[in-house]
Symmetry: D2
Subunit: 434 residues, 4 copies
Amino acid sequence: MTRPDGKLEEEKVFKDPVHRYIHVRDELIWELIGTKEFQRLRRIRQLGTTYVTFHGAEHTRFNHSLGVYEIMRRMVDILERKGVWDADERLVCLASALLHDVGHGPFSHSFEKVFHMDHEQWTRRIITGDTEINEVLKKMGDDFPNKVADVIAKTYDNKLLVSLISSQIDADRMDYLLRDAFYTGVSYGQFDMERILRVMRPEEDQAVFKHSGMHAVEDYIMSRYQMYWQVYFHPVTRSAEVILCKILNRAKELLEQGYDFQITPGHFMSMFNGQVTLNDYLKLDESIILYYFQAWEDEKDAILSDLCQRFMHRRLFKYVECNPSKQMLIWPELQELFKKIGLNPDYYLVIDSSSDLPYDFYRPGEKDERLPIHLLMPNGELRELSRESDVVEAISGKKRTDHKLYFPKDLLTDHTTFREEKQRILSLLLNQEG
Amino acid sequence: MTRPDGKLEEEKVFKDPVHRYIHVRDELIWELIGTKEFQRLRRIRQLGTTYVTFHGAEHTRFNHSLGVYEIMRRMVDILERKGVWDADERLVCLASALLHDVGHGPFSHSFEKVFHMDHEQWTRRIITGDTEINEVLKKMGDDFPNKVADVIAKTYDNKLLVSLISSQIDADRMDYLLRDAFYTGVSYGQFDMERILRVMRPEEDQAVFKHSGMHAVEDYIMSRYQMYWQVYFHPVTRSAEVILCKILNRAKELLEQGYDFQITPGHFMSMFNGQVTLNDYLKLDESIILYYFQAWEDEKDAILSDLCQRFMHRRLFKYVECNPSKQMLIWPELQELFKKIGLNPDYYLVIDSSSDLPYDFYRPGEKDERLPIHLLMPNGELRELSRESDVVEAISGKKRTDHKLYFPKDLLTDHTTFREEKQRILSLLLNQEG
Amino acid sequence: MTRPDGKLEEEKVFKDPVHRYIHVRDELIWELIGTKEFQRLRRIRQLGTTYVTFHGAEHTRFNHSLGVYEIMRRMVDILERKGVWDADERLVCLASALLHDVGHGPFSHSFEKVFHMDHEQWTRRIITGDTEINEVLKKMGDDFPNKVADVIAKTYDNKLLVSLISSQIDADRMDYLLRDAFYTGVSYGQFDMERILRVMRPEEDQAVFKHSGMHAVEDYIMSRYQMYWQVYFHPVTRSAEVILCKILNRAKELLEQGYDFQITPGHFMSMFNGQVTLNDYLKLDESIILYYFQAWEDEKDAILSDLCQRFMHRRLFKYVECNPSKQMLIWPELQELFKKIGLNPDYYLVIDSSSDLPYDFYRPGEKDERLPIHLLMPNGELRELSRESDVVEAISGKKRTDHKLYFPKDLLTDHTTFREEKQRILSLLLNQEG
Amino acid sequence: MTRPDGKLEEEKVFKDPVHRYIHVRDELIWELIGTKEFQRLRRIRQLGTTYVTFHGAEHTRFNHSLGVYEIMRRMVDILERKGVWDADERLVCLASALLHDVGHGPFSHSFEKVFHMDHEQWTRRIITGDTEINEVLKKMGDDFPNKVADVIAKTYDNKLLVSLISSQIDADRMDYLLRDAFYTGVSYGQFDMERILRVMRPEEDQAVFKHSGMHAVEDYIMSRYQMYWQVYFHPVTRSAEVILCKILNRAKELLEQGYDFQITPGHFMSMFNGQVTLNDYLKLDESIILYYFQAWEDEKDAILSDLCQRFMHRRLFKYVECNPSKQMLIWPELQELFKKIGLNPDYYLVIDSSSDLPYDFYRPGEKDERLPIHLLMPNGELRELSRESDVVEAISGKKRTDHKLYFPKDLLTDHTTFREEKQRILSLLLNQEG
């Protein structure tokens, strides 16, 4: 089936609604897609709980990973045509693009928050550990898995290559913006990727963009900005996330208290005690999580049962804007009132904050500093994007934070008991907003 | 929030990538969407195992059900504007459209085959049984759930209304063609729905179409034809389905044999013994199935374990065309050879047949007769579509059947044992094809 | 700017709404686009009078010619990657694709009918005559223009190359279907070109298509079929064409009669007397035609003036279906009646016939025989498309003809004079239809 | 055909590639579309000379006018459903939307510059003068044409209605952004119009937008910003416009000098002497202009002939950025040099400036003040858009101006004569840029 150069006899294609076709020409890539660790990504949605808000967003990380690979393949083709690409790096680059998200677990965002895990670290463990992926990668040389892991860790010495996968304008971001816009159905998220790829010029440690393509890059940044606030940080999505976190918290707490589960949470054990093996981790996917949540709907513990029912049947918490300074003043009273009416505030009164920095340039000394996007001017100089673009300048470096306070409004409108307290709670919550 | 006429104070919208927006104006519809039985559809994919072939096709029946509702809403709007619609029927119609698929279980096609279930019957049980959906419907009158169930059963006395939901050109089919084309990314499946709706004219027992819109209807029939063979009956999708059926068969057999499961297949028990309650049924969704399949990867039974691994990691059976007449001749030898090399032919040698009748007109006396599509000619007469359209005539009433023989090719190419038998098997399989 | 190999230093791109971008990499192509004969195509609409029916269809032959070039470029890229392409032929092929329509004049269809011209012959004259295009082509060798002209004439010895530009599935047809569908806004005309290109396999004298891509080819044929009847032969478009022909006829007749034009029809002179030079021909474009038509609105000749006003202000003739056998019977009476009420039947009573053969296979001995489309079967054999496809078989070789009778209905509904005759005319016309 | 309420018996539809279908339900609108003054818009391109840069942009003002009407029809439907619309105003509104551009002439921008004309004034003259449009409008009452003219003039007393057609977010702008993006093929220009219409709330003197839809409005403003700089002010488009203006200037000058034209510029006479009648004006369209330009290619006057050839064959001027302060210093020398080498600097050395104010809020006392866009906050207050949106704030009130210097570079690179002068000119031009 394959030729000595590692090329497939015949190109394989996947029909893809975003890029039309995904083209696979290398045996390595074909085999990686076939590994069980990669196939597992089919059981992990790309956008976590976003589907509760945008019903179209049911696509998985498998879907997205193929897309990132395809964009990278096109980038590499362009760079090769320009003669600036070292052929040896080609497969490192393509494999890294394909595998960059392989360490994601189900509802990553929530799991990372509750269990202090880091999906990027898991990606590297899967690449270098005892897995089918590792076995396939090693066919390219014993050191090959490490190279790929280094790219993911951004410690690889070819910085240009790293920047193609992970920078403020990379294959990952380009795919997810286009893809998430496609599946949610929103009209933001569109930009002229073909033009961006064409004006991309490789420099030593990153790709820069010809000045004539600035507006396409500007448009990409604006798409990102719009998608964050319109889709990724949608308050209803976050409500489902808040409940999910609280379920995990509650299950952990119950286990620690020696609670007697009807269905023993086997898959969670190592997670709760912080000793997760690679094998444990790879067994986690969304169907496992949902299996437990369905089972826990019938648990005796009222909190666990209620939260699971809320998650499964989309009985979400409502929210009010949360003004941190005002909120401090009412917090003690609110907590008291919640306890009084029988709702544990640890689980039923939750502040969630989201913040985004749509674009930033280098600020020396700050941690988490980001590599800025550079334009290649007609005279050969490089200029940082926000110096040329008013609109990028307007949002550059401005961290926008949004605080919301989530609570089960449905439990506060039933006035058969604690009528006064409930009215007081609602009045406190709604007033602090304005 | 709602007004006396049952209209919502403010229209609710869902962003939908296919119809742009789904508009909900009636309290009834809004509440039905919020029921747990309807929310459960989020955990059941629209196209079963199609995602193994078209990775974009990860959308669920929730997604599709909203789409059918939206098309119906537009149809009803048009009919109301023409003044031919009895306002009382409006909500019967919209609710039936929304709920027409609510009885679908996970991987329905396979489950119906193995357990002789009928999703339409479950739909009616959910509508009339002890469910949240039934409770919401009854707010419209005690008889309302029965009306909706009758529409689903096609026994409702307003035949026009029935035909809008279930005929050879109905809201259901129109949505799934457009939607499945969108998510798979294929270019077939497109047709001018807006025009079809505009040329639709209500007659006593069905909707007919103005002759001037014939080409749009023709195009719809061709889309259906193309989608069946390009997407719905794709041989790789069927390979996953074959394996899925065999897993269910094996688990049932093992249970009957008193096999000691490591993980007791609780959710399957009532199914295996044929006593499924409504509550049991509603607990089934794809995450439950996948939970068991993952667990069964580690079962001692080699067949169950192997099949589950194949399904989960996409190690599918290969196939050859199957010529029924030739196949009869080699079947006994094949069975023997499979047994000899240690493969149970009941699980590893499977014929799968698919057939489609893209369009048909009425043939008296046949069972399963279909209501034909009629064109309204300029002179006021009705003519059956295939009399006017050459291309529809070409495929009309022609049942096309495709037989494929599935087998685990990977197990036949390892030649450390039974080299000769394996070669003989492969030669038999490949020769009978030509 | 250019390199010794004739490649441009930097690729040029045109933004194109159908193919996203048109890529130009060869100096030759860039210079051809810049010639005045090619730029002239901007003043000739692609679809003649179709804009009176589909207002979006205002695109020109310039637009389409770039599109055909781009498809050919992609085809050649694919063939080169397969290693079957003689590099010398590349530019012959691209230039032929770009220039294949360069001989089109304004409203070609009507001009060819009235003046017995042939746009393909003009294309060859422009390529080989004293033009900027010829000058540019000759830079590639003295014989180069002839090669390109031979491709257009289908006499070139590389039959594969000829078939890419002119066969039943070629770059020209693929572009115009996609493009005309895009600009008119109809949903037909879509097909998966990318897939067709990928399954294309070069054979000695034509390209064939892998059997696995049959449905994409089938879909293309159906698009063609739908576009012909929905767009290209639309009866309203043909009404404008009928009037256009009659204007040209009338002007010619008047000139022959020595009529004294207020504005001498300078650009038409050589056409009327059949001595058109290359220079005369190249001056003709749609603005010239429309200039005269506007001027002739004020001519004393009532017929010329009326017809020009009709064309310019879209006061078109109405039509009835025309049944040739019935029509013979009423023709003499109709002619008499038209004369009686003062309408010259030569100009006001017109039969127009359109016919299409959407796909045909080779029928020995017939003139105008068409090269059939062949599928490459898994066993290496070739099979003609209609033997494998039911739907193509259904329309294959079936010439469908449509006759319509056009007349100025507005002049027949004014009943201040000749009331009886007009009623008789309308009754004859409407009755012969049924 | 029509009913007493002025509604058509059967709705008419136009297929439109941007809005899918244009729906006409009123006899008035149907008749207006049929007038010769409206049909004339088919001969006037929407984007003037933009087609020389974006070959897809060949659509006309007819195309756009239907689109504006359709958006307005949808707006009015929404407002009527909300019960805030006076039914009497409906047709005023729809007619104004349809006719708002009817006074445009060919290449309006250039004609207005050279002949100091104002297309809005012509629109009003056409509506109130002796035209078919006026005749049709008067059927609705003697005062009806004046009402429509007042809307165009923004003096109509229903300010809400005026704002729907002419404000910073109106039916006109929404259509042209979507339409011009569609035809050029650029990916900017997309925004979620359906959402904008849905969040629109009528206030006394303008429409405001619910705060929840802010991002859709923001996206619209950004589209506008991007389209201006990427499409409308493209420097190549402006080069063609510069030449067009110079042709008109030259012809005027020659006529004033008593130059003996081979083809008398009949259609231009009244324009050159400033006495344009309505009838003269309505005869002008792009085909007329192009007829003269083709004829003038052969005029003896070298400047007129050269400029016309440039325009017709797309031999455009090149450009350099123009720094006004530096340019002052070199201007006298440049002028001298041009004269020396025989090029009249009045025609061959041209500065063109474009500037845009993508969004502005009200600044008291300034002329041309613009009505700001207001958001309707959850608490019922109105807030001006740029106070809520960072990105709009970034571009709000900032007039960006771009100066370019155009010249015939091709004439400066031929070094058979005046080698030194030409080199000096090029060096001056290119140096002043940096």
